[in-house]
């Protein structure tokens, strides 16, 4: 973890993996966790990610210094470039570029690579494996598996290339989004959405929703911790488990509804008239201009090479 302990708001115990909970089973034996534990783990993982990205966003690095609006627009532009590239080698080069950006933004590379590759690109790799066969992607068979009901079966060169393309593209895209979200405080990222012409009401609701996700999350954690405290032995009855989940989700809606009434009254009491105001945008600096120029140059270079290869 690259953030020094003195400047972290996320407590140590939240960042350390719990013994025996590692899904790969490297510490102790792997247990099938039940739905209560899984939901609690999911809740703490959301908390951990949010607190941790706020810590990283407060670091002094290259991407942290760039205006959020500029960063959002350039990242979306780079995402489009990554989506149009037709060569695995170019996508690989773009991935190396994201690693360099991560290093320049003081992100630990081990953490960054883990965060990106677990779990979507690896999942993608497994899912596209069958697509490398000639029955789905016809072409030159390079790894023959023999015949199947009189038809030749094997992995094709074209299938492998397609699988490589999609995995590389997914990895580059996720890296770009992770770079954006990890280096921008969430409230500034929200206000930068106005630069994309997202309606004010939408941004307001989004900001409030993000805030209350954590409030409701603690309500869920309380409910489930209370249930776990009252249980002994294995909790394996599926039907009663579903009942518990439905009842807690229903109770949560009741809480959310009551809370929304209170929030409304609080808003009116503080002078809310229906015209939301968003944070005043900060002034752009020369670094932002330099960043935009670099991004445009990189995009032009990548697209030019892409055209030359094709």
């Amino acid at each position: 973890v690259s953030v020094p302990a003195t400047r972290r708001t996320a407590p140590d115990w939240l960042l350390e993996p719990e013994v025996g909970l590692c899904p790969c089973g490297c510490i102790g034996r792997r247990k099938k966790t039940n739905f209560v534990t899984k939901t609690l783990n999911g809740a703490s993982s959301v908390m951990r990610q949010a607190l941790f990205s706020d810590d990283i966003a407060a670091q002094q690095g290259l991407l942290q210094a760039i205006d959020p609006r500029v960063k959002l627009l350039t990242m979306v532009g780079l995402l489009v470039v990554a989506a149009t590239v037709r060569s695995t080698a170019l996508l690989g080069a773009m991935y190396v570029g994201t690693l360099l950006l991560a290093a320049a933004s003081r992100l630990s590379l081990r953490f960054f690579v883990k965060r990106v590759w677990l779990f979507i690109p690896i999942f993608t790799g497994i899912v596209v494996l069958p697509a490398t066969l000639n029955v789905i992607t016809p072409g030159e068979v390079v790894i023959p598996f023999g015949t199947w009901f009189g038809h030749e079966l094997g992995v094709t060169k074209q299938g492998l290339e397609a699988a490589g393309l999609i995995v590389a593209r997914v990895a580059v895209s996720i890296s770009l989004v992770v770079l954006l979200t990890l280096t921008t405080p969430w409230n500034r990222l929200l206000s930068s959405l106005r630069a994309l012409r997202v309606p004010k009401v939408f941004v307001l609701v989004l900001g409030m929703a993000y805030r209350y996700v954590f409030h409701l999350l603690s309500a869920v954690t309380d409910m489930y911790t209370a249930r776990q405290a009252r249980m002994i032995g294995k909790d394996t009855d599926v039907a009663s488990g579903r009942g518990v989940v439905a009842a807690s989700a229903g109770a949560l809606f009741g809480k959310a509804h009551a809370l929304s009434e209170e929030v409304y009254m609080a808003m009116v009491a503080r002078g809310y008239t229906g015209n939301p105001r968003v944070l005043r945008p900060s002034r752009l600096r020369w670094l932002d201009g330099a960043w935009v120029l670099t991004c445009v140059a990189v995009a032009a270079l990548v697209l030019g090479l892409n055209h030359a290869i094709a």
Partner: protein
Amino acid sequence: MHIPDGYLSPQTCAVLYGAALPFWATATRRVKRVVKNRYVPLLALGAAYCFLVMMFNVPIPDGTTAHAVGGVLVAVLLGPWAAVVAVSIALLIQALFFGDGGVLAYGANCFNMAIVMPFVGYAVYVAFARRTSLTAPRRTLAAGLGAYIGINAAALCAAIEFGLQPELFYKTDAGGHHVPLYAPFHLAQTVPAMLGAHLLVAGVVELALTAGVIAYLQRANVPVLRVNHAAVPETQLDMPAPRKLGLRGIFVGLGAMVLLVPLGLLATGTAFGEDGPGALDLKKYGLSAVPIGLAKYSNWWAHTLLPGYGYDRGGHPTIGYYVSAVAGTLLIAGVIAGAYFAVRVTRRRHARTALDAGTVK
């Protein structure tokens, strides 16, 4: 079902952003106009709730768990337009802050889960929950069914989006072979794979959670259900008497069908087995001649007034067709009216004799 970036071509993403845009615009306008300020916090909490519903692990047999999307649940609780906003915002939080679902693919994800799912599911819910009270068991079932059909409709959309990629976006290599640039599976694989998983597992989970939450609120927190059902009575006793389907409705329906008769003239070819045995393709069925019984009985009754709906008369086949239609309709109407009056007369007579005998007071 959260599609990450890289699976869909930028063109597909742009089209689906375009498809989602009018829904977002309408939803935002409706929120501003209909619901005013009070609903800003309600929508925000609805979006936060939606985010959390996706985190609830629902136990399924075999000790594993799955999670629901909650699009139809939010549509039932807050209305479909509010669900568009709430689910879209929950998806945006997931895509931007937690890397679940892509940023370019955000339009596609919203189209599937924030538009198709709540609207399809809500339509099913409204159709099945009609004329039931707020606490009726059928309302629970309707919500569950809506959730099941809604998530499968969303999965079908996602499968079509995936399946179109290798057909539309590929490059041709030196050997003349196609290399898919994005998701490599074809429609023949994506549709069965997505629908199989959703019909069997994800749909059932969605059904269980949605119906479970509605049943819980019916037991424990009816006022919350009022948010989207202001005019629905609470118990079956308070329901207004069901409206009788008058004769007018029947005549309007029948009249519309009579007007649609000319559609039959547009059709080419023959209906299966209708024009036998002359039109029978004997070779197809491995026969060398028309079976004796068929040949004998197919024209057994030839003394009809308008053979072949008046089409066989030559001359004016279209007029013959219309005359057949009108004559047939009148004949059927006459038979039904006759049966109706016969039943009424017998019933009255029966009632009178019963009254005379003193069995009915």
